[in-house]
Amino acid sequence: MHAERLVRAGEITEIVGRLSSGRTSLLVAALARATRAGAVAALVDVDDAFDAAGAARAGVDLARLLWVRCGRRRDHALRAADLLARCPGFGVVALDLGELAPRLPLTAGFRLRLAVRRSRVALVVLSSQRIAGAGAALAVETVQTGVDWTGPARATTRLARVRARVSVVRARVAPGPRAMDLEWWSEASA
């Protein structure tokens, strides 16, 4: 699943998966694509986990990124995402809910969907499980399929690559292939 297929103006996309499955890398790739195209993006970061240096290496134009650090307050994060989703002009609004995703009421999901439709903002939600329900136009799940290391087998020196499979778990419209294998290279190898 390429980053450009994740970002849909006026729609909600969900990226779910467990830790080390490459979901954050996929989200940052979407931010990089948006900012490189000249758009303004926002990242609502619940756990204050965003690695700015890594994002810059991934191609994110940091000057075009609004970073909202929520200090582990998920209620604040949902409120911030709701505000940003209603502001026309943002290319992508990313909501990184981390590991403990809150339960989102069905009505809240549809309200968010209505807001992004009006503002034509692409809302991308990252969490460990799906929260937007039918409000999401596309939901993908990332699963780690392999890890490669640099150095000799008995004395590896650095993490080299993570291989992951991205599968579509919900799509209101046909997204193209139902699954795709991706590779994410570490800082030392990319």
Partner: protein
């Protein structure tokens, strides 16, 4: 390159008659058509320091007491002139002239000298420059008269000849100024009386007197007056540098007790400030309010804008929110506002580029986000020039910086694996021999299946902020990929982040 024969000096003089009264009219425009006197002192011993034209028509002039002025003009409105209002008026007039030329000189009392050399190619002839100066002065609330000549002195006298714009062609200074009455030189009353006794009635009469004889009888003020009459400059041109802050103020005759009353006055002050900022193509990122209370105390409220702006309604709304959350302890009688200017976004956005949020929407969103999560938690990430891990800070998110940012980042061979950082790095327990074998956090032990490293990093060893660490990439038994580090100074193990 100056060509042979080209004149290299040209000045305009902008004069606002009765400047103290004009400063009061600027903050209270309804007084323009009514007799107005600027007064100073403590009642009942207040004296008139300036008066506008309608008041002067009734015989009100500087120096008389307020009681006498009211006797001469029963409809007179008298207002005290505060330093803040006078300073704001002075800076507003200078700002207006800076729009025309970068070299202006503050001559005091509502008189500004403008170096107009080279403006012909930008604006037009001297008449056009004069009209433009009148227009810019009107934009900040003043009715100005402008004189243009080769010297500042001649321009200053020309500005007082009674016409909106008076242009003196090169070489005709003495001929054109000669018929003007001596009062246009604004002589000291004592010297004016002496000149009247001598039968000197016009500028031309004064210019014909021998300067040495005049110096012997009238001293330095007499010589200065003679130089003015001859249109000669003696003083060096002292360019004006705008102050780092923009200030304006308003005094009221009544007490401001409610938020609605404060809003009314705040709107007036910000309207004037925004007009001045607009002249210089600036926006404000912080506004400081200073309320003078009836208890003689001052109540300060700082209003930092999440996004620099010049939109008066939005500024009023945000400032009122700040006052509401930090209300004064007593009624206010005066309000002073200081705006911290920054450069506005120049130009317009490209037709084929993605659209950006409207400035006003973005300002509102950023303010709300700042209120929600804190002002220090909203902004644009800025990498610090350091090798220290996670060297990043937040800077103000601005559309100007976003629009100007490069769209051409370095090409990557592969997609970048991201690290989810743990902030601050969490101390963990690590069982290690040559390499980590198991890690424990939150009371749960995780076996390590693969450990890669160490990568030794250090920096700033010359300072107390020095750091040194060994980094390891580890794969846990449940498939999680982590970066752990051992602080070489303290020996503690830290969880730096999780690859994802």
């Amino acid at each position: 390159m100056v060509e042979r024969g080209e004149r290299v000096s040209a000045f305009a003089c902008v004069v606002v008659p009765y400047f103290a009264a004009a400063a009061l009219e600027r903050v209270e425009p309804s007084l323009r058509e009514r007799p107005l006197a600027a007064v100073t002192g403590t009642p009942p011993a207040t004296r008139v320091i300036d008066a506008n034209d309608p008041a002067r028509a009734h015989g009100v002039h500087p120096g008389i007491t307020e009681a006498e002025a009211r006797a001469r003009c029963p409809d007179l409105s008298a207002r005290p002139l505060s330093d803040a209002v006078a300073a704001a008026a002075r800076h507003a007039l200078l700002d207006a002239t800076l729009v025309i030329s970068p070299r202006v000189e503050d001559a005091g009392g509502g008189v500004v000298h403008v170096d107009t050399h080279g403006l012909a190619r930008l604006i037009g002839d001297a008449e056009a420059v004069g009209k433009r100066l009148v227009k810019e002065a009107r934009a900040v609330g003043f009715t100005a008269m402008v004189g243009l000549a080769e010297s500042r002195a001649a321009a200053r006298v020309a500005a007082r000849l009674g016409r909106p714009v008076t242009v003196i062609p090169p070489g005709r200074e003495r001929a054109m100024l000669a018929p003007a009455p001596i009062v246009v030189l604004e002589p000291d009353p004592k010297i004016a009386a002496v000149l009247t006794q001598w039968g000197i009635r016009t500028v031309g009469d004064l210019a014909t007197l021998p300067r040495a004889e005049l110096s012997a009888r009238l001293g330095a003020p007499g010589v200065r007056l003679h130089e003015l009459a001859c249109g000669e400059d003696r003083d060096l041109f002292t360019p004006y540098s705008p102050p780092p802050f923009y200030q304006d103020a308003q005094h009221v005759e009544w007490e401001l007790t409610t938020l609605a009353q404060v809003a009314e006055v705040l709107t007036l002050v910000l309207e004037r400030l925004c007009a001045r900022l607009a002249l210089r193509h600036l926006v404000a990122d912080v506004v400081d309010l200073d309320l003078t209370l009836t208890t003689a105390e001052h109540h300060h409220v700082r209003v930092p804008f999440a996004y620099p702006l010049r939109d008066r309604p939005a500024m009023v709304t945000l400032a009122l929110q700040a006052v509401e959350s930090n209300p004064p302890r007593a009624a206010a009688t005066a309000l002073a506002v200081t705006a911290h200017p920054v450069r506005a976004l120049p130009g317009q956005h490209g037709l084929w580029e993605p659209r950006l949020p409207a400035s006003r929407d973005l300002a509102t969103i950023l303010t709300r986000l700042s209120t929600l999560v804190g002002a220090d938690a909203v902004g644009s990430p800025l990498l610090v020039d350091s090798h220290r891990p996670d060297a990043v800070t937040l800077t103000t998110f601005a559309l100007g910086a976003a629009a100007a940012a490069t769209t051409d980042p370095p090409a990557r061979r592969h997609a970048q694996l991201m690290l989810r950082r743990v902030r601050p790095p969490r101390p963990i327990t690590v069982e290690a021999d040559d390499a980590p074998r198991a890690v424990t956090w939150n009371g749960v032990r995780y076996g390590v299946t693969t450990a890669a490293g160490p990568w030794r990093l250090s920096g700033e060893w010359w300072d107390v902020t020095g750091w040194a660490r060994d980094e390891w990439d580890v794969a846990l038994a449940d498939g999680t990929l982590c970066r752990v580090a051992r602080d070489l100074r303290t020996g503690t193990w830290l969880l730096d982040g999780v690859y994802d």
